[in-house]
């Protein structure tokens, strides 16, 4: 463990961008956990007398049309956005990685059929799928999570498939079988852990996209509904006032969104270097 930490330290020292992204991502997670306890105002309590005030010492990000504190709403929204994005990504990773790994290892007919299915899925636009699911199963957050997970699934299947495929004939796979591992054990105990470092990059990048997707869906009114604070909703609501010069309503949630996506995207590459033991000496 200490070797891992030392190695992480070395990677981060040589790569300040990863360090900054890592700190940013950590901050996001901390805000998601403690945000609701830290906010100065109740994010849903309206206070009409102070509606649409620009940023000030009392309201750092200004107030919205009902006098709610934008700073509090942006901060509280972190938890929901990260939670939805993380569950979607976890779901697609947990399902996609083993499916892809088995396809890459077994090859043949299974691989061909799954490949076609994946292509079908990739041709499907997320927003149409989400609308269809909302129409069929109701406008609930769970459905948005599943829709996002489903749309991201092909990336994990393809990625795991390609990474496993190039390793299926390496010496240590044969050695594992000689040591008494079944085919399934070879995939789960040997191949998957070995493709994990490369997948970590994918997970991190995907988390960024997923956050963006969730915000996009709620912007359209799918999944999360007002008055729940969520970055997409905040942007959607604020958009109505942008022509009137109330820039703070859109800018701050937009910035939060951008920062979150940026952090997770930049984190990806650094993460791969930390997780790969071959880079350790």
């Amino acid at each position: 463990m200490s070797a891992t930490l030392r190695h992480a330290g070395w990677v981060l020292r040589g790569n300040p961008v990863t360090l900054a992204a890592g700190l940013g991502a950590t901050l996001m997670v901390l805000l998601a956990v403690f945000g609701p306890a830290l906010v100065p105002y109740d994010p849903v309590a309206s206070n009409v007398p102070v509606a649409l005030r620009p940023p000030s010492a009392a309201h750092w990000f200004g107030t919205d049309q009902l006098g709610r504190d934008v700073f509090s709403r942006v901060l509280v929204a972190t938890r929901l956005d990260l939670l939805i994005a993380a569950s979607a990504v976890t779901l697609s990773f947990a399902a996609g990685a083993p499916i892809g790994a088995f396809c890459g290892y077994v090859g043949g007919r299974l691989d061909r059929w799954v490949g076609r299915l994946v292509e079908l899925l990739m041709a499907f636009p997320l927003f149409v799928l989400a609308m269809a699911m909302v129409a069929a199963f109701g406008n609930r957050v769970e459905n948005i999570v599943i829709a996002t997970a489903l749309i991201n699934l092909p990336f994990y299947i393809r990625f795991a498939r390609a990474e496993v495929n190039i390793r299926r004939n390496v010496g240590w796979v044969e050695a594992a079988r000689a040591s008494g591992n079944s085919h399934a054990q070879v995939v789960l105990r040997f191949l998957l852990p070995n493709v994990l470092p490369a997948m970590a990059v994918q997970i991190s990048l995907n988390l960024g996209w997923a956050i963006l997707n969730v915000a996009g869906l709620s912007f359209l009114g799918l999944g999360v509904r007002p008055p729940t604070p969520e970055w997409g909703i905040l942007v959607a609501e604020g958009a109505r006032f942008i022509t009137a010069g109330r820039w703070w309503l859109v800018t701050f949630p937009g910035l939060a969104l951008m920062l979150a996506v940026l952090c997770f995207n930049l984190l990806g590459d650094g993460l791969r270097d930390i997780l790969d033991p071959r880079l350790r000496t």
């Binding site: 010496g171 000689a178 040591s179 008494g180 591992n181 079944s182 085919h183 070995n194 350790r280």
Partner: protein, 549 residues
């Protein structure tokens, strides 16, 4: 004496790594005259390749020449800028790399690649360059050279690719050719033809050659002078017969002893090791352990193993010799039940294990009896497992040991048996040297106390001195643990030392079988004779009986 073509004086090269500066060359001096052939011999990490790259000024960004002088034709090129070096590279000095397939561009035909080299140094039209490329391919004895001009590297064999590399290297008639392990990874017979071609070509064109190799026998056969390198220093430099006859440096003596000759025995490869008397076999010899009958394996369209039958007794060591493509690796995978045969039977200790499909063999009680040692030891270790985990894996799955003291003890015991220091057990494969990786691989194979060990070219990827140690280790293990060996190799000489009986395989068929000594003394099959002739050999005394009379 004229000025040397190439002279290296007190050259020092350092690489900056995360652990600070590492000195790869610690002050070496070498000289080479026109038309001379110099061999540089040493183990991996001794600095031989760094020397070559420093001369070509092709060191990567982390490497720096910190002191010394390299002059070529009297011109100091130690710190020469690129515009001075560019016309020299390819035209005046060129280099052949270890892996010809990796050194050739996979998406360009070989004719175009040779033409590229020509046109970089001479104003030629595409037509002229193509014609010259054809002549060059003919010079390196590629059959049907004009048709081969349009071939892509993947359409050629490894030996052919190396010939193309040689054609590129000699295209502009350079005065100096540096060959960095030009035949590593090639079959013995291909190695011989490539080396003969190299030495003939350089001799005919009056070129000087630097041959970098870990194989002392090969260097002795083809070089006029040999420099032995160890840890970034040249420890000895002498003509081959002197080096073999009276090696001065202790390291050279060890290297000479470790290089197998036709007379070598396992014991003679390691003269310094205490001559421990071989322990009595734990299992009495005799009793059929393995009986293979009419084994056939077909892959889509090709027959890799064609009606092979042989047997192996308990405690016996059987050699399986053949070149790449002879089906020996496929055969070993079939015996190990990692692959299903198309036809034929494999009986192990009386039971027909060939009837058990490979996919379910991990549950078979005989799984632990048959284990495998791989050629590429590093590549056979899971990069995410420590040495301990690698050795523990078969113990958990095959010997039923759970996490705990018994497992710890047995892993420690196995490590001790193969001479792996206990403190290395926590390391990942990439943190181990080639020899240490080999020991982990062997420890893993013997962990579950198998009865048959299939060794697939176990020393092909190792330096000679490490090879000697590993061979001795395997031989001792066989005697002490009462193991039977199926020793697969392309090197007939190694198999002779390790095995009592030999099977020679060609294109999936057994062409000869017999006792090692008899087969060596009087091969019956022409193919065996060819393999025998390809063993690099060098007589310690320059014996030229023909000229005396």
């Amino acid at each position: 004496m004229t000025a040397p073509l190439l002279s290296i004086e007190d050259l020092r090269v350092g690489f900056s790594t995360r652990h600070g500066l590492v000195e790869a060359l610690r002050g070496i001096s070498l000289g080479l005259h026109v038309g001379e052939t110099l061999g540089i011999v040493g183990e991996s990490g001794s600095g031989k390749s760094v020397t070559a790259l420093a001369v070509m000024r092709l060191l990567d960004r982390a490497g720096r020449i910190s002191a010394g002088r390299i002059s070529f034709r009297g011109q100091d090129i130690t710190h020469a800028p690129r515009h001075v070096l560019q016309p020299l590279r390819g035209a005046a000095m060129s280099m052949i790399f270890q892996n010809p397939r990796a050194a050739l561009n996979p998406i360009r035909t070989v004719g175009l690649q040779i033409a590229d080299v020509l046109r970089a140094h001479e104003p030629l039209s595409a037509r002229e360059a193509r014609d010259r490329a054809g002549v060059l391919l003919e010079a390196v004895r590629i059959r049907d050279p004009l048709a081969r001009l349009d071939a892509y590297p993947h359409e050629l064999s490894g030996g052919m690719c190396q010939r193309v590399m040689i054609a590129m290297a000699i295209a502009c008639e350079p005065a100096l050719l540096i060959a960095d392990e030009p035949t590593t990874g090639l079959d013995a017979t291909t190695q011989k033809t490539v080396m003969d071609l190299l030495s003939e070509t350089t001799a005919r064109r009056g070129m000087a050659m630097v041959l970098i190799t870990h194989d002392l026998g090969l260097a002795a056969q083809y070089c006029g002078r040999i420099a032995v390198m160890q840890q970034g220093l040249v420890v000895e430099e002498a003509p081959p017969h002197k080096l073999f006859g009276a090696p001065r440096h202790a390291y050279t003596r060890r290297l000479v002893a470790a290089s197998p000759t036709r007379q070598s025995t396992i014991a003679s490869l390691l003269p310094e090791a205490s001559a421990a008397p071989p322990a009595a076999p734990a299992v009495p010899r005799g009793g059929r352990l393995l009986e293979v009958r009419g084994l056939v394996k077909r892959f889509a369209g090709t027959t890799a193993v064609d009606d092979v039958s042989f047997h192996l007794d308990a405690g016996e060591s059987l050699g399986l010799v053949g070149e790449s493509g002879s089906g020996k690796s496929t055969l070993s995978r079939l015996v190990c039940r990692l692959l299903d045969q198309t036809a034929g039977s494999i009986r192990f200790d009386g039971t027909d294990i060939g009837a058990v499909p490979a996919r379910g063999f991990h549950r078979n009680p005989h799984r632990r009896d048959i284990q495998l040692v791989f050629q590429d030891h590093g590549g056979s270790l899971n990069p995410r497992f420590t040495a301990f985990q690698s050795i523990a894996d078969p113990l958990k799955l095959l010997a039923g040991l759970g996490e705990g003291e018994a497992l710890q003890r047995r892993v420690g015991e196995c490590a001790e048996r193969v001479g792996l220091p206990a403190e290395l057990l926590g390391r990942f494969p990439h943190q181990l040297s080639g020899g240490q990786q080999a020991r982990v691989g062997i420890a893993r194979a013997i962990a579950a106390r198998p009865r048959l060990l299939v060794l697939d070219e176990p020393t092909a990827a190792l330096d000679v001195s490490v090879q000697a140690v590993i061979l001795a280790l395997l031989d001792r293990l066989r005697r002490e643990e009462g193991l039977s060996f199926l020793f697969v190799s392309h090197d007939l000489n190694l198999v002779r030392m390790m095995c009592q009986r030999i099977i020679v395989l060609q294109a999936g068929k057994v062409v000869e079988e017999g006792k090692s000594d008899a087969l060596f003394a009087a091969p019956r099959a022409a193919y065996t004779a060819e393999l025998l002739a390809a063993i690099p050999h060098f007589a310690p005394e320059p014996s030229v009986p023909g000229t005396a009379g």
